[in-house]
């Protein structure tokens, strides 16, 4: 994903992507951010109990926890409402 996003948009991107266990490399690729930034964001989400890390063989995988559901639902509701309630662009 390109462009400028807010930190909450990045959190949402990480959490929705990690509904299935994902390694950090895939999260970096998906969010199009550098490793340090992604580590910081993932660390924050872990501290909130929104994401957990598990070691599978030699790989560390990240998985979104049920605690994140409220954030994901609220984010989706707000953004869909925001889009729906704004004026439509027409040529």
């Amino acid at each position: 994903m390109e462009g400028r996003r807010t930190q909450y948009e990045i959190y949402w991107e990480i959490l929705s992507f990690c509904k299935m266990p994902k390694p950090i490399t895939q999260i970096i690729q998906r969010c199009d951010l550098n490793s340090k930034t992604v580590q910081d964001h993932v660390g924050f989400l872990e501290s909130k109990g929104y994401i957990s890390r598990t070691v599978e063989g030699e790989r560390t995988m990240f998985l979104t926890m049920p605690a994140a559901r409220e954030f994901l639902n609220l984010f989706m509701r707000i953004y869909l409402e925001l889009y729906n309630n704004s004026p439509e662009f027409k040529l």
Binding site: K48, L80, F89, L91
Partner: protein
């Protein structure tokens, strides 16, 4: 609500894609026309005809318009390329009708607008200037025709063609910014909404 948002998103994406295609076409035509104004005028300048000063101004306008139109063309192509990626993703949405995917695409479009906002603002200015230049050029061609009536170098057919083309391209150049401004206005409302959303999300997450 999701269905409405999805349909609205499709309509907007179509409109913005069309606007980009029109803009690319305008940029291409403007570059071609500007060059077609420059070349004969430069040759005429060498021969120092009576309408020398008119030709010199026309050449200068042509050079300015060519530079602006080229920059415009590149900016439009860059936006179009990013939009095309989002369009590919939205095609997957058509099959699934997934609210989460739609939210992801809305986030991407919002990020695209935040990133391209300075370019869009610059493009609206360039387009207005280029449009104004074409209209001034139409006036110059008409004045050159009147001068030519007295000096014997008037060509009605080429004057009518030159004035018509310049006026049409100038009008398109002046119309396009209003469309980009409507696009920007729609996204500004959403950006303001996303700022308020941050407060709600930060409260939920216990941040700040």
């Amino acid at each position: 609500m999701e269905k409405n948002a999805e349909e609205k998103f499709r309509r907007e994406l179509r409109s913005f894609t069309a606007l980009n295609i029109i803009s690319i076409a305008f940029g291409g035509i403007a570059v071609a026309l500007a060059i077609s104004f420059i070349v004969p005028n430069v040759f005429a300048l060498v021969t120092f005809k009576p309408e020398f000063y008119m030709r010199a101004i026309s050449t200068l306008i042509g050079v300015v318009v060519a530079a602006m139109a080229l920059r415009w063309l590149i900016s439009c192509a860059e936006i179009f390329s990013k939009l095309d990626d989002i369009k590919d993703e939205s095609e997957k949405l058509e099959a699934s009708h997934d609210s989460e995917k739609l939210t992801g695409i809305i986030v991407r479009l919002m990020a695209l607008y935040r990133e391209e906002k300075p370019t869009i603002m610059r493009m609206t200015l360039f387009s207005r200037l280029a449009g104004a230049c074409f209209i001034v050029n139409a006036a110059i061609i008409a004045i050159a025709f009147v001068v030519g009536l007295f000096t014997g170098g008037a060509d009605l057919l080429s004057t009518v063609a030159g004035v018509s083309v310049s006026l049409v391209v100038g009008a398109v150049g002046l119309y396009l910014p209003s469309s980009f401004q409507r696009y920007a206005a729609a996204w500004e409302v959403r950006l303001q909404g996303s700022d308020s959303a941050e407060k709600e999300l930060s409260t939920l997450m216990g941040v700040g």
